[in-house]
């Protein structure tokens, strides 16, 4: 299954997607921070603040715990690399990016899992108590969110008879009524809960906490400094951007470029950015209103997401 679009378009789309994710990820985080601060009655940092932070971090010194092995500096590379590969092949702006025919939704899920595993190993390699704590908690939450995620993917794949992401999106566009079925809506909620868990946002994890004993994701990266820390932060923001973009295009696909051509591409870029920004604003507003869940309540939330996914599959079978 190869592409029928001209090679130049396809390469341009992939490059644009990568650029969009690399720059848009930090901007998305900045926008979410801005919305949160405004809702708290503050002005808050400028939207481009994460980019300023990254620029400064790349100029600082790299450190490494004396007992750590090569896994410690390697883990941030893997985190960013897996997200980059997803940004290249996944249909974020158009339905046929470079190698889009290989963008299987299960493959995307497992690629994201590699990133989590790499970071957990990096945390354990530091030889500190917090590294182990962060790794243990992150892997437990990840392991419990896998069933909800994969069954939600199944719920999306069943009507389209395929787990290939461009195929799912193309078929959603040609059957707009699919998107209002109960199965789809249940899968949407389950997906959202899993995205919150995987990217470490409230109510599962507070990304700006200073209390180490409440950290899940932050505890794994306490030892990274300078460019390594920049890679870790960039990787996190890229993950969130990619997850939001995929979510937006899977559930609200209108606007995605379905043909090569500058006009379609521009429309795709604008609509994807708008959708991702809207999702960011929505999540940030929600985060202001909730408190972080106790760690041992998170499995209950994941179990709830799993139940929703199973109901989504059943609905997809009954009401296709």
């Amino acid at each position: 299954m190869r592409t029928t679009w001209p090679v130049v378009s396809v390469v341009a789309i992939s490059l644009l997607q990568v650029l969009g994710v690399v720059l848009g990820g930090p901007l998305l985080l900045g926008l979410m921070r801005k919305v949160r601060c405004r809702l708290e009655g503050r002005i808050g940092p400028p939207i481009r603040q994460p980019l300023l932070d990254l620029r400064k971090l790349t100029r600082r010194e790299r450190t490494r715990p004396d007992q750590a092995s090569w896994i410690f500096p390697f883990a941030p590379l893997v985190l960013v690399a897996t997200t980059l590969v997803i940004a290249v092949i996944a249909p974020l702006l158009a339905t046929d990016p470079g190698f889009g025919w290989s963008a299987d939704l299960f493959a995307v899920v497992y690629l994201l899992l590699i990133g989590s595993v790499a970071l957990a190993l990096g945390g354990l390699d530091t030889g500190t108590a917090f590294g182990g704590m962060g790794a243990s908690r992150a892997m437990t939450v990840g392991a419990l969110s896998e069933p909800a995620l994969l069954v939600a993917v199944l719920a999306l794949s069943v009507p389209a008879h395929s787990s290939n992401v461009p195929t799912i999106i193309t078929r959603s566009l040609s059957h707009p009524l699919w998107l209002a079925t109960p199965g789809r809506l249940l899968a949407l909620v389950a997906f959202m809960i899993v995205i919150v868990a995987e990217s470490g946002r409230l109510p599962v994890d507070n990304p700006s906490t200073h209390l180490e004993l409440t950290m899940i994701h932050e505890a794994m990266v306490l030892e990274y400094a300078g460019p390594d820390l920049a890679l870790v932060k960039l990787g996190e923001s890229m993950r969130l951007a990619v997850l939001f973009a995929l979510f937006a295009n899977l559930f609200i696909p209108w606007g995605i470029a379905t043909a090569p051509g500058a006009g379609h591409l521009a429309l795709g870029l604008v609509t994807t950015m708008a959708k991702v920004a809207a999702l960011g604003v929505g999540l940030a507003s929600f985060e202001v209103a909730v408190a972080k869940l106790r760690l041992f309540r998170v499995p209950e939330l994941m179990a709830g997401a799993f139940v929703l996914s199973v109901l989504a599959v059943i609905s997809a079978l009954v009401v296709p």
Partner: protein
């Protein structure tokens, strides 16, 4: 949350914070490196927590230090420097040195409050080892007991370059 509350909050009105004048060359170099992004790790070396209360209030909606790109971090490895309060007690001398050692270079130390500068009212007390400058090299001092939040932010703006 009611919409009127939201609308009122959205139009934030923080207090005015004077911008810093040109500082000594070391601070100017730091500002040139940071260019709008400053993360500091706070260390309480033995303070009475008066300065902590002021530092807490610089991040409140009234003063909102975050709009200048200033943030506190949990790990010294993520920070550009230390924000130290209080005179350095005997038990906190080594931890303070270790914390500074953990900060990646180039790094700064900001001593907040009179106790950090010259032990303040605790000079000569039995548990105090000395001022912050006696234990680690200090790059910026913020006088006051406790210093006004606006003063603290102005000084930090000089480091952040905003």
């Amino acid at each position: 949350m009611r919409l009127t509350t939201l609308a009122r909050r959205w139009r934030a009105h923080p207090a005015a914070v004077p911008s810093p004048g040109p500082g000594p060359p070391a601070i100017q170099q730091a500002a040139g490196r940071n260019r709008g992004s400053l993360q500091l790790r706070h260390v309480d070396a033995g303070s009475c927590n008066g300065c902590e209360l002021e530092i807490a209030s610089i991040f409140s909606p009234v003063y909102d230090a975050e709009r200048f790109g200033i943030r506190l971090e949990a790990s010294p490895r993520h920070a550009d420097g230390l924000l130290v309060t209080g005179p350095v007690t005997r038990n906190m001398a080594d931890p303070l040195r270790k914390t500074l050692e953990a900060v990646p270079r180039p790094r700064v130390v900001v001593a907040v409050g009179d106790c950090a500068r010259n032990c303040g009212v605790f000079r000569g007390a039995y548990g105090v080892e000395g001022s912050v400058a006696d234990v680690v090299p200090v790059d910026l001092e913020i006088p006051g007991c406790p210093p006004d939040p606006a003063t603290i932010i102005t000084a930090l703006r000089g480091l952040a370059g905003t």
